[in-house]
């Protein structure tokens, strides 16, 4: 069974602006897929459809065997763990402990089991030692890891990371990549950080103007300079990917 199936998804804002037009995508269990695209391509809109925050104008999203419809929203939001770009948006409780507990508590988990979930999630990101700290006292890298723990505590099937490398220093960036690989979850990486996508995701799709314009091995897409340039995606200066570059 696929972890995620998006079928002919379209979304238009109330003012008529079409943010997504006929997006179809299947992600297999355990796969890591990068969603690449310039600013305004519809990446965030797509992500917000995955857990039913936004409702499709037409088309459908299915997580595992469960369609994203109102009746399933609690279970859908457990299955899809969304990590937002700015950890200060994600971490809104006064302490790390309370924040990580928020998701599972919404699912009805209480007391000892809740403590266990919190410990488990923070251990998974190696942040157990900051459990009683306030989020604003953490470094950027620590905040990012704790933000991931807040969704891990819900034991998700699919991890969705929105621009996870933004505001990370090079070391935190590498450590975070390591974490994503270690977690081994089905992962969607939404980014325009192309080297990061190359490092983490064997497969990529390019989203531009609300459509998927390419879907294939990341190496192959990044090596296609014409394609990349046509969609305002360029590797940073000094980087180059050829068809025989090594991948993970």
């Amino acid at each position: 069974m696929n972890a995620l199936t998006i079928t002919d998804l379209s979304y238009a804002y109330p003012d008529g602006h079409r943010a997504l037009s006929g997006v179809s995508l299947t992600v297999e269990r355990g796969e890591r897929v990068a969603i690449l695209g310039p600013n305004g391509a519809g990446k965030t809109t797509l992500v917000l459809h995955l857990n039913g925050i936004m409702t499709a104008t037409s088309g459908a999203v299915t997580v595992g065997d469960l369609p994203v419809v109102k009746a399933n929203l609690t279970e859908i939001r457990r299955r899809v763990g969304l990590v937002f770009q700015d950890p200060d948006d994600q971490l809104f409780m006064p302490t790390v402990r309370q924040d990580v507990a928020f998701g599972p508590a919404n699912l009805g988990v209480r007391d000892a089991e809740l403590d266990e979930r919190v410990n488990e999630a923070l251990s998974a990101v190696d942040m157990l030692d900051v459990i009683d700290r306030a989020p604003h006292h953490l470094s950027g890298g620590q905040r990012r890891r704790v933000a991931v723990a807040t969704v891990l505590a819900m034991r998700p099937d699919v991890l969705v990371l929105d621009e996870p490398s933004s505001n990370l220093d090079p070391q935190a960036r590498r450590e975070f990549a390591q974490l994503v690989l270690e977690l081994g979850l089905t992962t969607l990486l939404v980014t325009h950080d192309l080297p990061y996508a190359f490092e983490l995701c064997p497969r990529s799709v390019i989203l531009d103007e609300g459509r998927i314009v390419a879907d294939g091995p990341t190496r192959q897409l990044l090596a296609d300079t014409e394609l990349m340039r046509a969609h305002r995606l360029e590797l940073p200066y000094g980087f180059s990917v050829t068809a025989d570059s090594p991948t993970r």
Partner: protein, 281 residues
């Protein structure tokens, strides 16, 4: 993994279960018990916040109920507050510093004897209103003691615990949440406004006169817009983690009877002072 992350000792805040940890464990397994006051201070720190909130509020009410003519009763209240401060290990210098928040009220109180009504009292060159003097004394004495009690409360209780305590006292969850958002995002907003201030300075803005404050006002406006947008994003993040408008409540950390009895010592002493003051009036 991530071997370079500095490991620090677990943060001591926010626990109610660690009182015993502060004892020194001897090699042979016996415990060295700390001195009396130290130990009491830790016990107070370890009390669930709702107990301390009720005790502090109760005591402040008894202070307010004390008749203003009974100077000696306020001296007793003050002495008792100082004893409590010593017991919970709050340095008196810190306590005095915390009293500074009272200054605006002091300024108001100072006005009362000047603008108050007759009968007036001539002190040297100035004539002071007698009811005004009483009112000023009333505000000063009760205000100072009240602020001191809340300073004791915040010294022994972290903000996070206070919020949890309010929740356990059945304060509506949405109000507790709003307060906790203020705690969480106050710092974020302060940093944002600081960045905006630096950005203004970097472009040569150096306001000297009131009418040059326009840029500050504009910045305040855009700070509001930013805060509003952040609120929207936080709401999305909350929904993504299954939030449906009802806050999950934590029902743990109940207080023991002895903790309640210990904390209620404060209002009991207060009631006694106030009652005696009324009866000998």
């Amino acid at each position: 993994m991530s071997g370079s992350h500095g490991r620090t000792a677990p943060h001591p805040h926010g626990h109610h279960h660690h009182v015993g940890d502060h004892h020194h464990e001897h090699r042979d397994g016996t415990r060295a018990v700390d001195d009396g006051p130290m130990q009491l201070g830790q016990a107070v720190r370890a009390m669930p916040a709702q107990v301390k909130l009720v005790a502090a509020l109760g005591y402040v009410l008894t202070i307010v109920a004390t008749p203003r003519e009974a100077f000696w009763a306020f001296a007793l209240h003050a002495a008792f507050v100082i004893v409590v401060a010593i017991v919970v290990g709050m340095p008196l210098a810190t306590l005095r510093r915390r009293l500074v928040v009272e200054v605006p009220f002091v300024a108001f109180a100072v006005l009362l004897p000047i603008v108050g009504r007759a009968p007036r009292l001539d002190v040297g060159f100035v004539s002071l209103s007698q009811p005004g003097l009483w009112a000023a004394w009333n505000i000063l004495a009760k205000g100072t003691l009240g602020v001191a009690v809340s300073a004791l409360l915040t010294h022994t209780t972290s903000v996070v615990d206070l919020l949890a305590g309010l929740e356990r006292l059945r304060m509506p969850a949405s109000l507790v949440m709003i307060a906790s958002f203020m705690v969480r995002y106050g710092e974020v907003l302060r940093e944002e406004s600081e960045r905006m201030r630096v950005a203004r300075l970097a472009r040569g803005y150096d306001p000297r006169w009131f009418w040059q404050a326009r840029a500050v006002a504009t910045s305040a406006g855009s700070l509001f817009v930013r805060a509003y947008e952040r609120g929207e994003r936080v709401h999305l993040a909350m929904q993504s983690r299954g939030f449906t408008g009802r806050f999950p409540t934590s029902s743990r950390s109940d207080a023991t009877t002895s903790q309640w009895l210990g904390a209620l010592l404060l209002p009991i002493v207060g009631v006694t002072i106030a009652a005696v003051a009324w009866s000998v009036r």
